[in-house]
């Protein structure tokens, strides 16, 4: 049986498969940054991307990669637009994306907090709400730094297997 994809579905599929430059085990679809892919009446493919963090330097790389892959697939006119609203949240990382993160030793985020007015939550002890170790599964883990090698990750370590690991922090 031959499945004929419409241009729009084919374009969407291509854009969805582009890997994230910093977390290459994830596709842009897994990460939840690809907001829409449409084909205009004149054949222009319009892909909407949203940044994870305001300063994420991977954004221009994502844009270039989406554009290049669509052109390589035969779409002559491609426009990749930035969409800022609503702001990206880690809740948009797909279940498949969370599974891949765990598989690669990166703890996936929990539910994103809703920014709320009120006092600053001051918790100074190293042990926080349990992020299970993505390697051994132990709950006995602690944060070593809330900021890591990329904007979206924090540094943690497992007190059971002693391995350090990265954690995609909720935002």
């Amino acid at each position: 049986m031959v499945t004929v994809l419409t241009d729009a579905r084919r374009a969407r599929h291509i854009a969805e498969q582009v890997p994230d430059p910093e977390l290459p085990m994830l596709t842009l679809a897994d990460l939840g940054v690809l907001r829409d892919v449409t084909v205009a009446a004149d054949g222009t493919v319009v892909a909407d991307l949203t940044p994870t963090y305001s300063g994420c330097p991977a954004m221009s790389e994502m844009r270039a990669e989406v554009s290049a892959r669509l052109r390589d697939a035969g779409f002559e006119r491609v426009e990749v637009r930035t969409v800022l609203n609503p702001p990206w949240t880690t809740d948009w990382i797909s279940p498949e994306g969370r599974r891949k993160l765990s598989e690669h030793g990166i703890a996936p985020p929990g539910p994103a907090p809703r920014p709320a007015p009120g006092p600053v939550p001051l918790v100074l002890s190293a042990t926080r709400s349990a992020v299970p170790c993505p390697r051994c599964g132990a709950a006995d883990t602690e944060e070593t730094s809330r900021f890591g090698a990329t904007s979206c990750k924090a540094l943690w370590r497992c007190r059971a297997c002693r391995e350090p690991f990265e954690y995609v922090k909720e935002i």
């Binding site: 890997p19 994230d20 430059p21 290459p24 909407d48 940044p51 963090y53 305001s54 300063g55 994420c56 330097p57 954004m59 221009s60 790389e61 844009r63 270039a64 990669e65 554009s67 290049a68 892959r69 390589d72 426009e79 990749v80 637009r81 930035t82 969409v83 800022l84 609203n85 609503p86 702001p87 990206w88 949240t89 920014p115 007015p117 006092p119 600053v120 939550p121 001051l122 918790v123 100074l124 070593t144 730094s145 809330r146 900021f147 890591g148 090698a149 904007s151 540094l155 922090k169 935002i171």
Partner: protein
């Protein structure tokens, strides 16, 4: 694409020259975002606000970056650099919006690299040298709390682009404020020496609240945070000065801004047409 590895693809030729965000000649960070300004929004006021908020962020980012290789621990360098990167991203978006609405059509590089100190509108607190780590943490707590409170209001701005930039920034600034608050408590409630230096850092920052309160009416939120955090830290909060129009928003700066800009702008000015 012949090579699926994303890092290998960096070496391939593309029509689009924009690659990683190093150097000058960045892409427009607002590419594809509608440039329209809604009826009833004063373009000059909007541009002025975007510029001031962008300058606060750019100058703060530069100071935070200076901690790299100098912070007490590697983790703190990573954290401060990350906070600076968030602010740099906010500055880029705000400069781009400013260029759309102020009638000049300038891009972000023109604002960041080709204006002199007199043209900057950041509050002077942002430009003061980093000094002691404790002072830097007190300043970060105040600036993050102030910017967060202001961005929460701006998320409802009549300008949809500014509203979107602010709504995104709120999430980032919440992390920045948290980070600074924890250090203020850790140092204030730490050893005799750390307490002494944290108190000194706080005392240096408090007089600057006059300029902040005058610039944006977010002073109450900042005071609430300061009261909470200093109490938890066992620090005493000096009398907060009344709001007084600050010099920074008028382009009058301390002697510390020009050297900061000289470092920030030197490469771009030496090679004004360069892209890499």
């Amino acid at each position: 694409m012949s090579d699926d590895h994303v890092y290998m693809s960096l070496a391939e030729g593309h029509e689009d020259n924009a690659r990683w965000a190093y150097g000058t000649g960045f892409e427009d960070p607002l590419h594809g975002v509608s440039t329209a300004v809604p009826d009833g929004v004063d373009r000059a006021e909007l541009a002025e606000l975007c510029l001031a908020l962008a300058d606060d962020a750019l100058v703060s980012a530069q100071r935070l970056g200076e901690w790299t290789t100098r912070a007490p621990e590697l983790e703190e360098e990573v954290a401060l650099a990350n906070i600076g990167l968030d602010l740099l991203g906010q500055a880029r978006l705000l400069y781009a919006r400013c260029g759309q609405v102020d009638g000049t059509g300038r891009g972000e590089d023109a604002y960041a690299y080709f204006r002199d100190a007199d043209d900057f509108r950041n509050v002077t607190l942002a430009e003061l040298p980093n000094g002691d780590f404790a002072f830097s943490m007190a300043r970060l707590l105040v600036l993050a709390s102030w910017r967060l409170a202001h961005f929460e209001l701006l998320a409802g701005s009549a300008d949809p682009v500014l509203a979107a930039i602010a709504a995104k920034g709120v999430k980032e600034l919440t992390y920045h404020r948290q980070y600074a608050a924890e250090w203020v408590v850790r140092l204030g409630d730490g050893t005799e020496e750390s307490h002494r230096r944290m108190q000194a850092g706080l005392d240096q920052v408090v007089p600057c609240l006059a300029e902040l309160s005058a610039a944006h009416d977010a002073g109450e939120a900042v005071l609430a945070v300061l009261a909470q955090v200093t109490e938890a830290a066992g620090l005493s909060l000096a009398d907060v000065p009344a709001a007084a129009a600050g010099a920074g928003r008028r382009g009058e700066h301390t002697e510390h801004l020009a050297p900061l800009l000289a470092e920030l702008q030197s490469v771009a000015r030496a090679h004004p047409e360069a892209t890499w």
